[in-house]
Symmetry: C2
Subunit: 251 residues, 2 copies
């Protein structure tokens, strides 16, 4: 069986460099290749902007820049991804260790999931390690200091851009709903939340923990603005929160 | 207005000490008081066992041990919590900075949520900072290397011990379901997952990233065992995963 270098998927966290884990920093300092995804050759990688302050690049370490175009068109993504995965494979085949960095967590709406699937078929037997990270799932609630869930509460994570038809049923069943990928559907989202009587229970957060972080409680006021890619809406019903404080039945 | 010390809610992550963030380490090294929750005076705090290797206690720093009994009975929890919050308040009133540590994330099924609510009424105007952490939400998937969500997928987090009646509807609407607090309902949970045809898509993980981590794919084999408090079942349908690889409609 062919020997490969080890492949790491390293989450660098939601944006603030000091929200990286000690393990992420240690792995990035130790590997031979740091694989860095960016949208195109003219933009700086968001993940590398987060990691760089914590990783003093060694002279014998390669920074491998890889282009992942921001589109859903497979005629564009598939050839670009093939180039990226081929470049990574070349290093792994030379038994170099490769750390692929991702903003947020490697398994939560991240390109690393595709790399992981490809790895298993392209480099049979390759050792993979996933370094989990602080994701927007905990980062967004932390900046607005809103409980994600206490004792009895249920949480849903829903990519808003893939249809909002089922959101009213989801809001029935869940206490906290985190809506990802809201940027292109804000007017429709505002309408659904208003119909459900939950517009006042909703908060918009973009670039959580980053430099230009933005928190908006009046969602209607920004519904026609262009929203940031790193934005989320958190909806909190509070119906079942505070169970141990006697606010609701103790179940 | 009275001046208070600053109150921090610091998540120390899922269990492995090197999964703490740089920020958590820095805050714990800088504060005057580290408030440490434990079940009772005879057990070591799980959160402190995670944090201690990264925090060299300073001579002028206080380690304040606080008992949070493991029960849902308010006749026991409420007086114990009052003692704990009163002790914390005494330090804040002396303008000492206090960091309350939590395993996982401070806002995800954590005692810190109750402290935060109490803080706002007990110490009006106190400054609070939440340091988000790697939670079981990303830690459990990382140890079994299973994608939480890609492009179109929806994720649900459900505390299993508060009723499984709605689980079939939730499994209809969601692609990934993370079941928390499974320990006392495993036989019932196994039955529901089997009825939904998803038993083979379910993985049990306890003590993720910790020393005695356990992964079980045959849930039926452990349904009558006593499960660990830090355990979770991850159910993954894969119906909508791999969107960019052409596995499903691109939406």
């Amino acid at each position: 069986m062919q020997e490969f270098g080890k492949l790491y998927g390293v989450g660098v966290g939601p944006g603030a460099p000091d929200l990286m884990t000690l393990r992420a920093v240690n792995v990035l300092r130790s590997v031979e290749v740091i694989a860095i995804p960016r949208s195109n050759r003219f933009t700086k990688s968001v993940a590398w902007r987060i990691a760089e302050p914590n990783v003093s690049k060694r002279d014998d370490q390669e920074l491998l820049m890889l282009d992942f175009p921001m589109t859903k068109d497979p005629a564009i993504t598939e050839p670009a991804w093939d180039v990226a995965f081929t470049e990574i494979g070349r290093r792994l085949e030379s038994q170099q260790s490769v750390a692929f960095i991702c903003e947020g967590d490697p398994l939560f709406y991240s390109t690393f999931s595709y790399l992981k699937n490809q790895a298993q078929s392209r480099w049979s037997g390759v050792e993979i390690e996933v370094v989990p990270a602080v994701s927007s799932f905990t980062a967004v609630p932390s900046v607005i200091q809103m409980t994600i869930a206490d004792g009895q509460e249920r949480v849903a994570v829903v990519p808003a851009s893939y249809g909002l038809e089922e959101l009213p049923s989801i809001l029935e069943l869940f206490d906290t709903v985190l809506l990802m990928k809201v940027s292109r559907v804000m007017p429709e989202l505002v309408r659904v939340l208003d119909d459900c009587g939950l517009l006042d229970n909703s908060v918009y957060v973009s670039k959580a923990t980053m430099e230009h972080q933005k928190v908006v409680t009046d969602l209607a006021s920004i519904q026609n603005e262009k929203c940031d890619y790193f934005s989320m809406v958190m909806v909190k019903k509070f119906d079942r929160s505070g169970v141990l404080e006697g606010a609701v039945d103790r179940g």
